[in-house]
């Protein structure tokens, strides 16, 4: 709150001096009309001091009420707005603007030293540890802006413009006073230097925060807790960093969590990511990247919707030219316990990696796979991971676990497991497997594709599985459209949405945002020609792409259908439309049945080992794990099977009209 301050009068000076206060020069102490000198005790004033009204109470995070006032503190060039409670500052508060309702209690030093940008604009060597993909982190850096900056190094004009735009934003953040915004609460902290703290943030027990921003808002408060050491950092709204986490040159994204001695250097972790125990270095962790285990090291990688198993490790260094290698796990990958990858490698979306892999392979066009190790070889089982419990569960859980509370979210996330992005890769995969089958000799046990082995026997199975995925996706698109439009006749909804030409391209995953390459190219052109010249405008351009997803994915489906069938879906005969629905129903039910069978494995045979320790195995198992029939996920699958049948009947009725 901006307000008028007046030079403190003799009466208040006397009261303050009687309360044990002293000033370097009382002439540089200003107070607001509501200032109450009786609520200030044992305070040393240095430099220019502005003090707001001190009336009423504040409520601590533990619900205890405190009378507003300033007690036992040294203030140096500080503005304290209305109704704050500041007590027991052991070293000093220096060069700060403290807004209304702030509580600061039992701290060492909170200061701004010289001119700073509070971590904004700090350059980090993300994704490639040796550099070349530097990213200037800011509190406005979204997963998509970071992705474009880090990944599009083949377009130097774009990179130059992105750097200019970022630098402009950073310039606007420059100050020699740090802001502690309205209703911030800071307790038990040792050192906070050159850190801007957003509204309603709670900082309790941090050891050392230097050169950073804790962005926060009333609707999405941010928490920095016990033992945290952070330097050159950005923590975005709603995030939590606690339990002795160590951050160095790191951005922690919206509603992400870091704790339990997690350490990070030169990394970004975007929305809803989680880092506990592990060590990460030069990692581009897109939304929903999760690493929970003490023995895990993630290095020089790019992930999203990723789950790292315990002991996951990669090498980015061949002891030749330094740590120059990098690797990509496309969205939805998981690594099993003690898995190892030798960078550079690129793993296709929604793939589970088990074992140790010493080959540099590229499976980006073989999504939904299992990669394991057999006799030292990396072996891929294409498409299998689509029909396992884990992938379907992940698809359900990600949207429901979005912890972000801000109305306006920075990271733009399309959650769909099946999308033009993943299905185009499924189509590529199907073609690759079919071609490999065509050329394989029956005596061969394995064939290879981009340095990864595939069992020859599984080429036909994989091709079939991929076709099931395509059939399911195509039908799902129709069902989605049907639910939205509620037509009287199916053909009424088989029309293109606006600008189908924009969907007719490769689809990209901009770290959570799925979109056609043409949309991105148009955005890039606007950045290069200067139409987009600020982070705000760039974010707005990305939001337009995000908002066009439903439109574009529908158009993509119709275009792909036409490409594969030489005919528009709308021009199909009723019999062919029924065949289309039959394929969808068949593939959907097969998926659900196979997932149910996969879930059943969790209740039978060897899964009972170690149950019934000194008694009845089955009773012990049922009481601890529950039964297959009563399992919540299994029930959900059964409900979906029922729903598929109902939707099929509803759509079929619309064909005969």
């Amino acid at each position: 709150m901006s307000q008028n301050y007046f030079q403190i009068d003799e009466h208040d000076i006397k009261v303050l001096e009687n309360n044990g206060c002293q000033a370097e020069d009382w002439n540089t102490v200003y107070v607001s009309p509501e200032f109450d000198s009786t609520r200030v005790r044992d305070v040393v004033f240095e430099g220019e001091i502005k003090l707001g009204g001190l009336t009423g109470e504040v409520v601590r995070n533990d619900s205890r009420k405190k009378k507003c006032g300033i007690y036992k503190a040294k203030l140096n060039n500080v503005t304290i707005e209305d109704n704050c409670y500041i007590s027991n500052v052991n070293i000093e508060l220096s060069n700060l603007v403290i807004q209304s309702g702030v509580i600061i209690e039992n701290v060492g030093k909170i200061a701004c030293v010289g001119e700073t940008t509070f971590g904004n604009g700090h350059e980090i060597s993300v994704f490639n540890e040796a550099g070349g993909r530097e990213l200037k982190i800011t509190k406005q850096t979204s997963a998509q802006i970071a992705y474009m900056t880090v990944a599009y190094r083949d377009n130097q004009k774009l990179i130059n413009k992105l750097n200019e735009i970022t630098t402009d934003f950073v310039t606007g953040q420059k100050s020699n006073k740090a802001l502690i915004a309205n209703n911030v609460q800071i307790y038990n902290c040792n050192k906070i230097v050159n850190v801007a703290i957003g509204e309603s943030a709670l900082i309790d027990g941090a050891l050392s925060l230097v050169e950073g921003t804790v962005d926060s808002s009333t609707e999405a408060p941010t928490f920095v807790g016990d033992g945290v050491i952070a330097e050159h950092f950005i923590v975005q709204k709603g995030a939590s960093v606690t339990e002795s986490a160590i951050l160095s040159s790191t951005l922690v994204g919206e509603a992400s969590q870091a704790g339990k001695m997690f350490s990070s250097e030169n990394c970004v972790l975007f929305a809803n990511s989680e880092g506990f125990h592990s060590e990460i270095c030069s990692i581009f962790a897109g939304p929903y990247s999760v690493t929970h285990h003490k023995s895990t090291l993630l290095i020089a990688g790019m992930f999203s919707f990723f789950n790292a198993g315990s002991g996951t490790n990669q090498s980015n260094h061949m002891y030749k030219l330094g740590p120059v290698h990098q690797g990509i796990l496309e969205r939805g990958c998981k690594t099993g316990s003690s898995s190892y990858l030798l960078w550079p490698s690129r793993v296709g979306a929604f793939t589970a990696i088990i074992g140790k892999h010493y080959a540099n392979f590229d499976s980006s066009n073989l999504p939904f796979s299992y990669i394991n190790e057999k006799d030292g070889k990396s072996v891929i089982t294409p498409a299998m991971n689509f029909f396992t419990t884990g992938t379907l569960r992940d698809g359900y859980k990600w949207p429901s676990r979005d912890r972000r509370k801000s109305a306006k979210k920075l990271d733009l996330i399309i959650f769909d497991v099946l999308s033009p992005y993943s299905v185009q890769k499924v189509m590529n995969g199907k073609n690759i497997l079919a071609a490999l089958k065509e050329s394989a000799d029956k005596k061969q046990e394995f064939v290879t594709h981009k340095n990864i082995h595939i069992k020859r026997l599984l080429l036909k199975t994989g091709t079939r599985y991929y076709q099931l995925i395509i059939d399911k996706y195509f039908g799902d698109m129709l069902v989605k459209r049907f639910k939205k439009e509620k037509p009287d006749n199916l053909k009424d909804i088989l029309t293109y949405e606006k600008n189908p030409e924009l969907a007719n391209a490769d689809w990209l995953d901009l770290s959570g945002l799925l979109c056609s390459k043409k949309r991105v190219e148009s955005l890039i052109a606007d950045v290069i020609n200067g139409n987009i010249n600020s982070l705000e405008k760039l974010q707005s351009g990305l939001e337009n792409i995000y908002n066009s997803y439903d439109n574009d994915s529908w158009n993509w489906f119709l275009l792909k259908y036409k490409e594969l069938n030489d005919k528009e879906l709308a021009d199909e005969t009723n019999d062919n439309l029924i065949n289309f629905l039959d394929s969808w129903k068949d593939s959907s039910l097969k998926l659900l049945n196979m997932v149910a069978q996969d879930s059943q494995k969790e209740f039978e045979g060897n899964t009972r080992i170690s149950f019934g320790i000194d008694g009845n195995t089955d009773t012990d198992f049922d009481n601890v794990r529950g039964t297959f029939a009563d399992n919540k996920f299994v029930k959900q699958i059964n409900e979906e099977i029922e729903a598929v049948n109902l939707k099929y009947e509803a759509l079929k009725k619309l064909i005969s009209v």
Binding site: Y370, N372, T381, M384, F387, K455, L457, L458, K460, T461, R464, Y465, L468, L589, K590, N593, M594, Q597, D598, K601, G605, N606
Partner: protein, 80 residues
Amino acid sequence: MSDTLERVKTVTADLLKIDVDIINEDSRFVEDLGAESIQSIELVAAFEEEFDIEMDEDAALAVKNVSDAVRFIGEVLKEN
């Protein structure tokens, strides 16, 4: 039937790299013969190649033991 059984046993033994003599009609692929989940899919693919048939994916994966596999393959061969 007995020919199908012998061929199922041979394919299973080759794929799981086990001695054919330990396989009998009651042998369960996972619990008794040690098939891992990926190998279940490989077994289906191997049976398809051996008998030159296509098996319904979810129904085939529901087959748990050798005698069920023999019966299932017999039904597919009959349909063909």
